[in-house]
Amino acid sequence: MQHTIRRLALLAFACAGLSACTNRPQSLYQWQNYQADVDSYFRSDKLSPEEQTRQMEEGLQKIKANGATPPPGYNAHLGLLYGQQGRPDLFVQQIEAEKLQFPESEKFMDFLLRNFKK
């Protein structure tokens, strides 16, 4: 039994090593948990908006500390979370950050600034 467990552990280790090798060589962005954050947002039963915001802020600090770039939508989605918690100032701040990082977003971000300010 002991032996089997050791072999299983070794196999798992080898698999982990192999899958690490198949990762893309370099990433354009540092993702943190952005896609899982979006996933949680849509499955509203999973995490409270406050907890989602806290995790995303923590992720953003890590991205900044590494001198990396957040992916498209990261700042904007964080802004949405703030907006829904009655923080229009932070909503605007994050939307502006998205616009600055990605000029391609300008049209939609301006639309949001005009329409979602409540």
Binding site: Y34, Q35, V38, D39, F42, P72, G73, E104, S105, F111
Partner: protein
């Protein structure tokens, strides 16, 4: 040669012919894609042809990463979804039918990605079960309406589990699978595999790299 040997040889040859037949794909025609040269993509909420109601948002959640890493700006999917809702559009079918001029006016995206999910969820088999997610997609220029690209992909949680043969191994895998995480969460993970296969640039027949990627090759105008 004995007849059996002849048969074996014939079989091998036939298999070889069939294999080479499969290997020669017609190269994908990227003329429209290159002419349009999109920089930003709006992913519309996917049409869900399966009974699993969570499928649309699950697939939508995992579309940003492959597209962004391929070099495109992706319109924030949650905000786009909320914007559709604010405008009374909650059904993916209705959203897909929205005039492209309207989409371009609000989101400012160069192209729209229209996804349809054909399979989503758990398939029960003799031993254990598998989560399968299949989807097709088409990329449309939001100013001209031209189709720039289309493709499809599928992923299953059972991939790569079959090499180690033997019923005992299969049974153990089945037990482990039921213990580790719920099958719903597994479907989400598989949705992520499907979207990255579907939407990663540089694969045969896949989308092209966008301007933010170092591998982007701009079209040289004559």
């Amino acid at each position: 040669m004995k007849p059996i040997q002849w048969m074996r040889l014939a079989c091998t040859l036939l298999a070889l012919i069939l294999l080479t037949g499969c290997a020669t794909h017609k190269p994908y025609d990227y003329t429209a894609f290159k002419a349009s040269n999109p920089k930003s993509i709006l992913v519309l909420p996917p049409i869900n042809d399966t009974p699993e109601i969570t499928a649309s948002n699950a697939v939508l959640s995992y579309t940003t990463r492959p597209l962004a890493e391929s070099g495109f700006y992706v319109i924030p999917v949650t905000l786009a979804s909320e914007t559709f809702k604010e405008n009374g559009l909650t059904q993916a079918n209705d959203i897909h039918a929205t005039p492209i001029a309207k989409l371009h006016e609000i989101f400012g995206a160069d192209a729209g990605l229209y996804i349809t999910i054909s399979r989503y969820g758990t398939v029960y088999q003799v031993v254990g079960s598998a989560s399968i997610v299949s989807a097709t997609a088409k990329l449309v220029d939001l100013q001209t309406g031209a189709q720039l690209w289309h493709g499809s992909a599928s992923a299953s949680s059972d991939e790569g589990n079959n090499q180690q043969g033997g019923l005992a191994v299969l049974l153990i895998t089945a037990i482990v699978k039921q213990v580790v995480g719920s099958l719903t969460d597994e479907s989400y993970r598989i949705a992520g595999v499907t979207t990255s296969r579907l939407l990663t640039a540089g694969t045969p027949g896949g989308i092209l790299y966008g301007p933010r990627s170092p591998r982007y090759t701009p079209e040289i105008k004559p």
